[in-house]
Amino acid sequence: MSRTQQSADREQERITDDDGNAVESALVGDDLELSYPTSEETIVDCARLDIPEGAVTALVGPNGSGKSTLLKALSKHLEPNAGSVQIHGKDLDAFSRKELAREMGVLSQENDSLGSISVEDLIYHGRYPHRGFFDGVSEEDQQAVERAIELAGIDHLRESELGQLSGGQKQLAWIAMVLAQDTDVLLLDEPTTFLDIHHQFRVLETIRQLNEERGVTVAVILHDISQAARFADYLVAMCDGELYDWGPPEEVVTEQLLADVFGVEATVEYEPELQVLPKRALSNSRS
């Protein structure tokens, strides 16, 4: 509890960035209490969560720490028992599903494998929230799709069938679909898990490029703490359904955190750049 309190205090201080400018939050979770309809147990209990505007925020934490659940609540896939979520200061409930889908793109962790759809057709589905029931494809739709294909670097795959692609290529295609949605906020649930290292970097570089060129706010769950530490502007560390700590990686990633949250003994080097070197599992830290 003291931990949560402490991080809440720190967060109040750190609403400014390096230059002392105030950082706006694109997405705010307030007093969230989350559980699944099938069980009584509260899975996430989080006083306040900020996803800063125009930055890449990585959610990290061990399996079962509630990262995905939190992301589901942020994207209105899960109705919170208590608390609310605001996007750009407006409550999520004030949006219809389509309106929300024009503000926020979401990529779930597991995407059903569809055999025979072509990559280009898949990406065009990203335009769904921008099209009415009877609308055809507009010029704008086309441009958004072309941009998404270019950004994800999968022009050579556009005619391929999704089922024929490797896991990494599939993931890039799905990401391109979300990019075609053309939203200011992007939530991604473990987009790099199960990918080979080349495609992990391709995915992360695409996200980074999107953030830098178009100022898109990104919240991404990453499995790998060292990857997250190098990649993200902000880290949100979750542990047992609570917010453990929040802030820039240099401040959040400590040997203490790795022991408390991840249950590993590790050394953290801050010079020349942030580096996490895990050594061994701590036997007594997690049951």
């Binding site: 309809p37 099938t38 994207s75 896939h77 219809s96 599903r97 389509k98 309106e99 929300l100 889908a101 024009r102 793109g105 979401v106 990529l107 779930s108 995407n111 059903d112 569809l114 055999g115 025979s116 759809i117 280009e120 057709d121 898949l122 065009y124 589905h125 990203g126 769904y128 929230p129 029931f133 009877f134 055809g136 494809v137 086309q142 072309e146 979300v178 949605q181």
Partner: protein, 369 residues
């Protein structure tokens, strides 16, 4: 470079609107040819003996085809204008059977295709989901007990179908549903409704009614006339139009529930409304042709294997392939045993069943789409 890119853009734009592939066009053309040929064979047989040539001449008789009075007689039941005996036999006795087959084939195929997308289950069909037996019970009850309500048959069938579908879904639902649960729930509900249908026979007054009822339960087009066309054509047309317009929604639904929701779809609502469309489509067919087994299950598979899984193509494919197969099966039902006419449902069951078994053997996994 810039120019090359804009050309590239245009090319892609054309392809985008052109989801119609050569294969699809060919498939539809072939289906149309089969429908026409089978239809011509169908109208050449019957009690009143005439040669093939005479029958075909009667079909293409311009004084009938371009006669508004004749069409008004067919479609609205006004008085028939004067025409030759051959024309009367072909146009009032034989052609409606072909039209009913076309309507029933198209609606059942489309209904099956929608159910397969909505439940994301390859095994789904109006029959498996209980819609057929529910609608069947309602129609049978109407025929046997409340014979005055005959003009409202599609509506009554739709009510019965909806009741059965909701029952199946609520049995199978447990925070989501799987293909196997759905099929099992369907089997249970089907059995209950079949018992109810058989129970109704005890209320039938004479043997004639029982015989009609049995023929109807196996799915028969024997003796269908313009009245059946009139009953079914409107709900069929509406359901087909909505289904074609909703093809893109079905495609998005196929991406999975959470993706569809992320893209801004109100998933439950879309599922529910498209299921309603599928029920109306199936009910239109069931009201006039009875329960034609396997049809709604197998036809979408055949079309999917040929033109691919994109619902824009699949729907159009079903719209053409359904009639072709139904009219052909009906020709088979009429001619297979020489003198006696079999119900068309017997033919579709005998061909559809083994075909489906073959599909199951060929594919590694069956179930989730």
């Amino acid at each position: 470079m810039g120019e090359a890119q804009s050309v590239e853009g245009h090319r892609s734009a054309r392809e985008r609107e052109g989801w119609v592939t050569g294969r699809l066009v060919l498939f539809c053309l072939a289906s149309t040819v089969i429908t026409v040929v089978a239809g011509l064979v169908q109208v050449s047989f019957g009690e009143y003996s005439m040669t093939f040539l005479e029958a075909w001449q009667a079909v293409f008789e311009p004084s009938v085809i371009f006669n508004l009075h004749a069409w008004s007689a067919f479609l609205f039941g006004t008085d028939l204008p004067e025409m030759s005996t051959a024309s009367i036999v072909v146009w009032t006795l034989r052609m409606p059977r072909v039209f009913v087959a076309i309507i029933a084939g198209a609606t059942l195929a489309i209904s099956g295709a929608i159910f397969q997308a909505v439940t994301r289950n390859e095994l789904a069909s109006p029959f498996v989901l209980g819609v057929s037996s529910g609608a069947g019970f309602a129609v049978l009850a109407t025929l046997v007990v409340f014979s005055g309500l005959t003009p409202f048959l599609p509506l009554i069938a739709a009510l019965g179908g909806t009741a059965a579908f909701v029952t199946v879904y609520s049995i199978a639902w447990k925070g989501g549903t799987s293909p196997v649960r759905l099929v099992l729930a369907g089997v249970v509900v089907n059995m209950v409704f079949q018992s109810l249908q058989q129970g109704l026979f005890f209320f039938a007054d004479d043997l004639g009614v029982v015989q009609t009822a049995i023929a109807w339960l196996t799915g028969s087009l024997t003796g269908t006339g313009w009245e059946e066309v009139r009953i079914a054509v409107l709900p069929a047309a509406v359901a087909i139009a909505i289904a074609l317009a909703g093809a893109r929604q079905l495609n998005v639904l196929m991406l999975g529930e959470s993706t569809a929701r992320s893209l801004g779809m109100r998933v439950e609502r879309v599922r529910f409304s498209l299921s309603a469309v599928a029920i109306v489509a199936a009910s239109a067919a069931i009201a006039v042709a009875g329960i034609v087994s396997f049809f709604g299950l197998v036809v979408p598979h055949i079309v999917r294997n040929t033109v691919g899984g994109d619902y824009r193509r699949l729907m159009v494919g079903c719209l053409f392939a359904g009639p072709a197969l139904m009219v052909s099966a009906d020709v088979g039902a009429r001619l297979a045993l020489g003198g006696a006419q079999m119900p068309v449902g017997v033919v579709t069951g005998l061909i559809g069943g083994p075909y489906f078994l073959y599909l199951m053997r060929k594919q590694q996994s069956m179930g989730e789409l």
